[in-house]
């Protein structure tokens, strides 16, 4: 009975002011789509770095006469043994010149001219090392850079960091725009609710005088805002669900070395969108009514 009344009143308000309702839903949709996109970008970066960082952290490139006197089989064997015995080293793989070339041609299969410019002998052989703790790179570099036959010790995470810095900038920009949009949506909701309350001021003044409780008077208006906010959140969820997995799929076909997020991550971001949409609507509705409907 009570809830039926409150819901009924909320829907009357939404219907009576259809244009405003539409504007609220649209602006919530835009802001939450941006918010969801930046959350998903974050997930993507975490997924990619986990995978990447987990595979290799340090490359130790070996000499091949081009840069320094070529590494001898003995030196190479000694290096491998010392690496394997080292306490911070987790795993060691050897990548020969041929394997490096194969990986390169695979990576740049789309750019034949680049592949043609390199012959199998150009790329150096290397040891690829994963560490117990990726932050211990300095220990490895200090110890192995001076080994005979070692050309260079490279922290692969440094390469990754450049990529991360870029994605962070993109994500923060998206988050900032999402936040501003969300504030705008909140102001729009507050205004809409105020208009709705004004349109029904006769009814609310009667309610007040017959002793309806504050929440009984306010809840239809708050619910009106929350319903619009939640609809906006659902629409943005649907938009992300329809687009993000497709974009990730097409990217995955181009970039084979990286794992990509899929539909399941989009699904799991949904509750946060609903919470943000409903929450911002509830807060701005309550604030809008605070002075307007006081006893």
């Amino acid at each position: 009975m009570r809830w039926l009344y409150i819901l009924h009143e909320a829907f009357i308000g939404l219907r009576r002011n259809l244009m405003m309702t539409f504007a609220v839903i649209l602006s919530v949709t835009v802001s939450l789509t941006l918010l969801g996109a930046s959350l998903l970008l974050n997930e993507q970066v975490e997924l990619a770095t986990d995978d990447w960082v987990g595979r290799v952290e340090v490359s130790i490139f070996l000499c091949d006469d081009r840069t320094c006197p070529a590494v001898t089989p003995e030196q190479q064997e000694e290096l491998r043994e010392d690496l394997q015995d080292h306490e911070v080293v987790d795993e060691v793989f050897y990548e020969s010149k041929q394997e490096a070339y194969d990986r390169f041609t695979e990576l740049f299969a789309d750019q034949p001219s680049l592949v043609e410019s390199i012959d199998p002998d150009t790329l150096p052989a290397s040891f690829r090392v994963s560490l117990v703790n990726p932050n211990l790179f300095n220990v490895i570099r200090d110890q192995f850079a001076a080994y005979p036959g070692v050309d260079e010790v490279v922290d692969q995470r440094e390469v990754l960091n450049q990529f991360l810095r870029f994605t962070n900038v993109v994500r923060n920009a998206a988050l900032t725009v999402a936040a501003i949009q969300l504030i705008a949506a909140g102001v729009l909701i507050a205004n809409t609710i105020r208009v709705a309350a004004f349109a029904r001021r006769e009814q609310t003044s009667v309610m007040r005088l017959v002793g309806a409780s504050n929440w009984y008077i306010r809840l239809p208006f708050v619910l009106e805002g929350v319903i619009a906010g939640v609809i906006g959140a659902l629409v943005s969820w649907g938009l992300l669900y329809g687009t993000v997995p497709r974009v990730a799929d097409s990217l995955a076909q181009d970039i084979e070395l990286m794992p990509f997020i899929g539909a399941s991550q989009v699904v799991s971001v949904g509750p946060w969108l609903l919470l943000a949409g409903g929450g911002i609507a509830a807060i701005s509705s309550i604030l809008a009514l605070r002075r307007f409907l006081d006893v």
Partner: protein, 232 residues
């Protein structure tokens, strides 16, 4: 039932100017009384009524209504107070998109009564005010007197202990007014305390009930079985 002790209420008007609406007013109304509050416009009648429903709060003095001290009352308890008070307006304040029945039922719905209680109580009240046959009509289809009856029914439907009427006959012609007064009298006889602010000299003189006269914020007269003015 209602008790004001040395109540003063002033309204600020600009920085230095102020209007004293009630000045050291002490009034007591006991359970079951019927009281007229008379006086010219601006004498403090409206402020007196608003203080009783706690739409306004007294600046000084104590106000008790239905056993509750309004000065120390928490804000969230105000709705509970108002359920003890029925309020009838000069301009009826009916909701135009609801029928007679719905307007009366609304007062019960919004305080959380269930359907069974509403379906039992609303027809009783409509019968009391003589509008059983009009229960499906909308306010604009009714005469002024009928609308005021609906308003009285709405005020009385949850059995309040106090009925406050602010110029209830102000928009009605004399013969219709008599009907409304008979209705209020009947409600008074059921045990409800009735306080009625009015300008209507005829009614006050014919009812011969207690009269409290306000002028410029002071109580200038408090008379049992009184008439509108000394001069008649």
């Amino acid at each position: 039932m209602i008790k004001l002790e040395n109540v003063t209420k002033t309204y600020k008007r600009g920085a230095n100017d102020q209007v004293i609406a009630l000045n050291d007013v002490s009034i007591e109304v006991i359970k079951g009384e019927f009281v007229f509050v008379v006086g010219p416009s601006g004498s403090g009648k409206s402020t007196f009524m608003k203080i009783l429903t706690r739409e306004q709060m007294a600046d000084e003095g104590d106000v008790w209504v239905a056993g509750k001290n309004l000065a120390s009352m928490r804000r969230w308890k105000v709705p509970v107070l108002r359920r003890e008070i029925g309020y009838v307006f000069q301009d009826f304040k009916l909701l135009s998109n609801k029928t007679v029945y719905e307007n009366v039922a609304f007062a019960l719905e919004v305080i959380g009564s269930n359907r069974r209680q509403i379906d039992k109580r609303v027809p009783e009240v409509l019968e009391l005010v003589g509008l059983t046959e009009k229960q499906g009509a909308y306010p604009h289809e009714l005469s002024g007197g009928q609308q005021q009856r609906v308003s009285v029914a709405r005020a009385f439907v949850n059995n309040p202990r106090i009925l406050l009427c602010d110029e209830p006959t102000g928009n009605l012609d004399p013969s219709t007014s008599v009907g409304i007064m008979k209705l209020l009298d009947r409600i008074n006889r059921t045990g409800a305390t009735v306080v009625m602010a009015t300008h209507d000299q005829h009614i006050v003189d014919s009812m011969r009930r207690r009269v409290i006269e306000l002028d410029d914020g002071y109580v200038v007269r408090d008379q049992t079985r009184g008439v509108y003015g000394y001069g008649g």
